[in-house]
Each structure stands twice: as structure tokens, then as C-alpha cells.
Symmetry: C2
Subunit: 339 residues, 2 copies
Amino acid sequence: MTLATSAEVVLDHGTGAKLSQELIGEIVDLLGEAYLGEMEDSATLPLPGGRIAMTTDSFVVDPPFFGNGDIGKIAVCGTVNDLAVVGARPLYLTLGMIIEAGLPMERLRQVVTSVRDTALEAGVHVVCGDTKVVGRGEADKIFLNTAGVGVFEREPLRMRHVRPGDRVVLSGPIGNHTVHLLSIREGLGFETRVLSDCAPLNGMVDELLAAVPAGAVRSMRDVTRGGLAAVLHEYAAAVGRPVRFDQAALPVQFETRMATDMLGIDPIHTANEGCLALFVDPAAEADVLAALRAHRYGGHAVTIGEVGTDEGAGVFSRAEDGTAARVDELLGAELPRLC
Amino acid sequence: MTLATSAEVVLDHGTGAKLSQELIGEIVDLLGEAYLGEMEDSATLPLPGGRIAMTTDSFVVDPPFFGNGDIGKIAVCGTVNDLAVVGARPLYLTLGMIIEAGLPMERLRQVVTSVRDTALEAGVHVVCGDTKVVGRGEADKIFLNTAGVGVFEREPLRMRHVRPGDRVVLSGPIGNHTVHLLSIREGLGFETRVLSDCAPLNGMVDELLAAVPAGAVRSMRDVTRGGLAAVLHEYAAAVGRPVRFDQAALPVQFETRMATDMLGIDPIHTANEGCLALFVDPAAEADVLAALRAHRYGGHAVTIGEVGTDEGAGVFSRAEDGTAARVDELLGAELPRLC
């Protein structure tokens, strides 16, 4: 019984014996040139001296397979993007999988293939992995974990570099990933017109940072769980200044707005998988926008607001009539398992 | 509602908003000096140049809380040991948690505290983490993932360094971890007399490698999933020589043998969390045993067999009457969720 002949994942694929070995062997084969491990207990890897970046994320996205992606793509993008936004060049990924017994083997193949394709696009290697299988009902289909290591070839970008007056730029529309997944979950019918934005953004970040003077991009975050609101609150608190944005400037696709209105949620609270919030020196704003827009993942980049020069944290939304409303930090986003 | 005031984990602890932030803040507080992150998207870390080791493991142990440990301790030991056995000095760990909504907050605290204590014992730092919460019935209490980075201050140990005639040494008894957990799961009553061997072994490995000439320890593995049988099969296949061991030499605690006999399982197929199988230059065998026995985790170290000088892979068990039996590689270990 092998990955090729077994139609679904069984508990013994996770117990460390022969079936486990076969499963792992076929996963490594599927990863192809995206894999750089050696099948020892740890991978041994060259690394330039200096400083590294490390990050990890677990992925429990529901559904794990959706219109224009799957949990494998998200797992690579999430970790690659976390490394890229601090200014590191992503190099190595680990891949941990927790699989519910009964998962069709074809689905596992799909996940690994997505990991491979996304890793190749991002220019990173999977260097080691781990596969656990739990019984039916003990997990929900498949959970992934990726940890990543990157190297710094530039000064790290840090939240504390943000200054009063800095512009806040979004690299793309918000809300699409959330609407796409909720639409599939709830049968809303938007999923063919609103696609997930899931993408590895390290290439775009690299081109951006090469195009503008060092320090012009103070800091950035990928806008994932908690949405834009959570990111802006995090920066406002860290900098001790208000962050203000124009409601009308928010890039939200028409159908996405329809869906979020219908669902009674605000796009600023939605999770995304391919959108950056950047804090930018005002003098470099035009160059940053131009560099982002030149990349296929940044075509809709836009300035949405700025960091206030007055004291006090807080996030404020400006309406078109000029009135400002405080954006509360949600206690919980009430939208679980979007990543 | 905070970790201190909420009695259990709720879905909103995982959605990236305020409750998530509070949960993460309290987890970081609990980790104390075992934490070395910066609450950015990636941790930024110094690293000597040269080569690094990287590894990852997911942990789905059932039950996650047992007599002398818990999933937090296992998650640190598993990854630290995987780095140590290739000859690397473990430095940094990532910590990913997937939590089933409804987990008592006190249990989460216990896990994080165990992570902290074990990381401090092992001399490693947690540098970043991630917390996801899924609904009731979508996971089984708590799953962890740790990825680790270590540096090489010595030549990496590799399976391919093993030579015909090398001695096979076990650093401690086998079967205890498996019997401890199965006893709790099945209510067998052995769990107070048979404790899990779960331990971070990097300290012992470091003392061992410092005590013997370079190359004397060719390669080693921690004997986890799949048990001793899987490890010996892996080496026999890699080296292309038979590996033989004496049944009577296997270190198995009396009560453990009683339990495995009762359960109809062979200790060589049981998972462990604090036992090494070492392949050793015969000239250094006595020094290796002495170095291991001098450490509190290696008091029962013993030679169990050797790598044959004849051709052909395979694992063979020798009985006291001198007869040898081929040890088959199990298709599946049929004992899921022991790590």
C-alpha cells in the first residue's frame, strides 16, 4: 500500500513504520526540486553569517481546498510573507502536516503540489518536514505548520522605525480572501467572482526595497488574521500616535463589498493572504506606489491614510464628509479558520 | 476577558483581534526568559556563519497531559533531540499551537510552562510562535508544532559515516514512554511505575561528543515513532549491511516488559522520547558507554549489537541460545499518537 495505491490516508501512515516511510518518500518525490532536505533528523544547511529571521505559522483554513488555492499555498505564502515584511530574504521552510485519517490521498498530493509550486515561485526550499495522522474526528481534514528562516541582506524593517506623518499604503484590495472562503462555506455564490488574494509577496517586496532609498519604507505587515484594523491598531499602539485612514480610499472590489455588506462585516476586519500595509516616508510615497504597481501583486496599491503628528494612539476612519470615527479593536474577529 | 479571567480557550482567542493579542501577551509572559522573540512578524536573530541544522515536528500526543510530562515538554524535547543527534547545538525554537476551543486555560498554561522549563533546561530559546483555535470537535484538545534551528560547532554526524563492525549502543531503556501513555489511555494501572523517558538529550550528547575523539560516534538517532526497529532498519538500508542485536541485551524495565507482553507488542516497536541509538567505532565503545552513563539521562546505556561485516541489509534479533530471527519492518506501528 503506497501513496500511489492507497486511496486515503490511514493512521498507519503516521506511525513511523514502513507506511510512514513510503508516504514521506512520495511526498519528497512530489516536492521535487523544491525540497532541499537530506532525510536525516535535521537538515544541514549553508547560511551566510550575520542575522537571520525566523517565523512560524499554523494553518487550519476551512475549507482547506478552495477556488484558486489551498492550504498548501497559504502555508508557504504566510511564512514567506512574514519573513519578507521584516526585510529578510526567505530561504528555508519546514513543513509539518497533521492529517485526519480518511483524507483522500489525492487531496494530500494536491497540498504537497501546491507547497512545491508556491515554494518554487517564492524561491524558497522546503528543508524538512513531519507528518502526523490522527483518527477520524480528531482533526478537520488537514492542518499545516510552516516555519521559515530568512537572511538579512538589508537592515531589518521594524515597527519602531515608523514616524509621525508617515503614509499608510495598502498593496492591494482587502476582503477578497475572506469573502472567497466564507462564500464557499456558506454557499453564497460569490466564490467565482471574488478570488483569494493568496500570494507570495517576497518578490514584490524585494523589487520595492531595491527601488527606494533605504529607510523609505519604515515597516510593513502582511494583513492577515485580524485584518487591516488589527494591523493599524498594532502600529498605533507601538508608535503612540493615531493612525487615520480614508474610508473611500480603501481598495475593496465591488462584489466583495456586496458580500461583506450582506454578511454584516467590515472589510477592515477581514483576513487576507496577499496584501501588505506599508508605513512609508512621505517623500518616497510616489516611488513606493510606482514600485508596487509595477508588480503583478501590487497593481491596486494605494495610499489610504497616515500616522498622525498629534499624541495618543487609536485608529480613526474618515468619511467622505470629513467626519472621523474611532475604529474599535475587536475583542475577537468572529471569523475563525480563514488561515 | 484574559488568559487570567477566561476559564477556557474560545474561538476568538485565535482570530487575530484583541483577545488573540491578550492570549499571546500572556503566553510570552509565561515563557519568560525562555522567549527571545520581538513580537514582529519574524524574529531577528544573530547566528554565526557556516552551517545550520533545521528540523520540525508536529505533536499530537494522546493524552496531551500525562504522569510525568505533557505535550509541551515533548514538543521541546523532540525538536531539540533531532538537532542534537546530527551534531548541532540547538539554539532557536518556533512554537505553533492548534487548540480546540474549550481547552481549559489552566491546561494551556501548563503546556506553555512545560515549554518554558524544558527550553531552559535544554538551553534553547523560543523565538516566535503562533496560536490557532479551532472549534470543538475540529481537533483533539491541543496539537503543537516546533521547528528548530541549531548551529554546527563540529562536523555533522551522518548516517553514511556508519561502517561495518560499528557497535550499536542504546542510551537508555526502551518502551517506557509508550507503556506510560497506553496505560493511561487504557486504564492498565502501570502509569505510576512506568514513567515516560521524555527528556532533552542535547546536554548528554554534548558531553559525549566532547569526551570521545571526533568520528568515534558515527551517527545517532533518537528512538521515537516506529521504535528501535524502525531506526535499525533505516540504518541497515542506508549502510547496506545487516544490523544484529541481542534480545537479552535490550534495556527494558521489568514492569514495561509485563505491560508490553500483556498488550502483545514488542518493545522494539515502541515510541520513546528520551533514548538514543548510537553507532559507534568499536575502539571507542567503552568511552562512549562511560560518557553516557555519567549523565543522568544515560545511566542505563548499553551495547545491544553491531553492524555486520557481511553484505545485505536487514535487522536480526539474536536469542540467548544463539539463534537469529529476522525482524520485519512493520507496515504500520499500529500505535498512533504517542508523540
